[in-house]
C-alpha cells in the first residue's frame, strides 16, 4: 500500500468510526496527515492501535505546536504513529484555543507518552487531561511561564551586558 492508498484507507476508517471527529485529511510531503477534533484523539489512537489492517502500535513522537496567528486555534499537538508490522507512518494533529489548552492524554494507550506529554506541558502549557503526573520535566520547577510559547523571548532576561545596538535585540 502506497501513501496515497494509506491516506484513503485511514480516512475511510476514521470517517466511519468517528464521523465529525475527523476534520481534514491531506498529504503533506508524501506523509498522510489527519486533523482531528481534540475530544476524540485518545479514542482515535486507541482505534488505530487495535485495527488489524493498520495496527499503529508505536508512537514515534508527539510535539506541541503554537501558531499565534491562528485565532482560536493557537495551540496544537502533533502525534506521529508508526505501524511496525505494516511499516506505515501517519501524523495526527489537534488544534485548540490558547485560552482552553486542554487535550485528552493518550497515556492510557501509550505509556511512553507520559514524559512526552510532560515535556509539552512544560514548554507550551498544554494540559493533558487524564495524565497521571503532569508536572514540569526539564525546566526548573519554579519557572512561572511556558518558554516555547512565542510571546516569550528566547533570551534570558537576567543578562545586562547586551544591548540592541550590538546584538540586535
Amino acid at each position: 500500500m502506497d501513501n496515497q492508498a494509506l491516506l484513503n484507507t485511514v480516512q475511510e476508517k476514521l470517517k466511519a468510526q468517528f464521523g465529525e471527529g475527523l476534520i481534514s485529511s491531506e498529504m503533506v510531503a508524501d506523509y498522510p496527515v489527519f486533523t482531528l477534533n481534540r475530544d476524540v484523539i485518545c479514542d482515535v489512537v486507541h482505534f488505530l492501535y487495535n485495527d488489524n489492517d493498520l495496527s499503529f502500535q508505536y508512537l514515534t513522537t508527539l510535539a506541541g505546536l503554537h501558531y499565534p496567528d491562528n485565532k482560536g486555534k493557537e495551540l496544537g499537538v502533533m502525534y506521529q504513529l508508526h505501524s511496525l508490522t505494516k511499516n506505515f507512518r501517519i501524523r495526527l494533529k489537534v488544534f485548540f484555543s490558547i485560552n482552553d489548552p486542554n487535550v485528552p492524554s493518550i497515556t492510557p494507550v501509550f505509556l511512553g507518552a507520559n514524559w512526552m506529554e510532560r515535556l509539552e506541558f512544560d514548554f507550551f502549557g498544554i494540559i493533558f487531561k487524564g495524565h497521571p503526573n503532569l508536572k514540569r520535566i526539564v525546566n526548573v520547577d519554579d519557572m512561572n511561564y511556558h518558554p516555547m510559547r512565542k510571546e516569550y523571548p528566547l533570551e534570558d532576561a537576567t543578562r545586562e551586558d547586551k544591548d540592541d545596538k550590538m546584538f540586535g535585540r
Partner: protein
C-alpha cells in the same frame, strides 16, 4: 645521581626567611601559602566541551602535574579549587552551589570558557548567564573552548592567589560581606 639528571628536577624556591646552621625561620603565612600553591587539589566540575579540553590539560602532553595540581579531587570536601567548565543550566544551580558550599576553606573558583564566565552563546531562558551570579569567582578563562595553555595560565593565576592568601581570610569582613552577597553562611 648525575649532574644532568639533577638539573632537570625543578624544586620550588623556599620563601624569604632567616637562614642559619640547622634552622630556617619564615612567616607561617608564607610557608602555608607555598604548600597551598604547589599542591592545589582541583575539583573538575565539567559539564561540556571545556571539560574535554581540561582532560587534555591534565593528560601527559600538557601535564597539569607540573604545577602540583594533578591530584583531581572528586570530593568537594577535599578540594581547594572548583573548576567550573562548561554550560551551567538553571537546573544545575543548586548543584553548583551545594558543591561550592561543601568545600573547606580556603577555596578558589575558576570559571573556564565563555559559558561558565557569561553564558556564552547560550543566551537563553534555560541557561545561567555566568556562574558569578551564584558563587564568587576568582579567575575567568575566556575562550570557546580555551586552549590548554590558557587553562594552565588560569591555574598559575590561582597559584598566585593561593600563595599570598592570608590564613585568616574567612574571618575578614570583606570576605564575610562577599559570602553574604551570595547568600551563604
Amino acid at each position: 645521581m648525575t649532574e644532568i639528571v639533577k638539573s632537570k628536577i625543578n624544586i620550588v624556591q623556599a620563601p624569604d626567611g632567616i637562614n642559619g646552621p640547622g634552622f630556617f625561620v619564615t612567616m607561617l603565612d608564607k610557608a602555608v601559602g607555598l604548600g597551598r600553591m604547589n599542591s592545589l587539589w582541583p575539583l573538575p566540575f565539567a559539564t561540556s566541551c571545556c571539560g574535554i579540553e581540561f582532560m587534555a590539560t591534565a593528560a601527559a602532553t600538557y601535564d597539569l602535574g607540573r604545577f602540583g595540581a594533578e591530584r583531581l579531587s572528586f570530593s568537594p570536601r577535599q578540594a581547594d579549587l572548583l573548576m567550573v567548565m562548561g554550560t551551567i543550566s538553571k537546573k544545575m544551580i543548586p548543584v553548583v552551589r551545594q558543591v561550592y558550599q561543601q568545600m573547606a576553606e580556603p577555596r578558589w573558583v575558576l570559571a573556564m570558557g565563555a559559558c561558565a564566565c557569561s553564558g556564552g552563546i547560550f543566551d537563553t531562558y534555560s541557561v545561567l548567564q555566568g556562574i558569578d551570579k551564584i558563587i564568587p569567582v576568582d579567575v575567568y578563562i575566556p575562550g570557546c573552548p580555551p586552549r590548554p595553555e590558557q587553562v594552565i595560565d588560569g591555574i598559575i593565576q590561582i597559584q598566585k592567589l593561593a600563595v599570598s592568601e592570608t590564613t585568616r581570610r574567612r574571618n575578614q569582613p570583606e570576605y564575610k560581606a562577599l559570602m553574604e552577597k551570595y547568600g551563604m553562611e
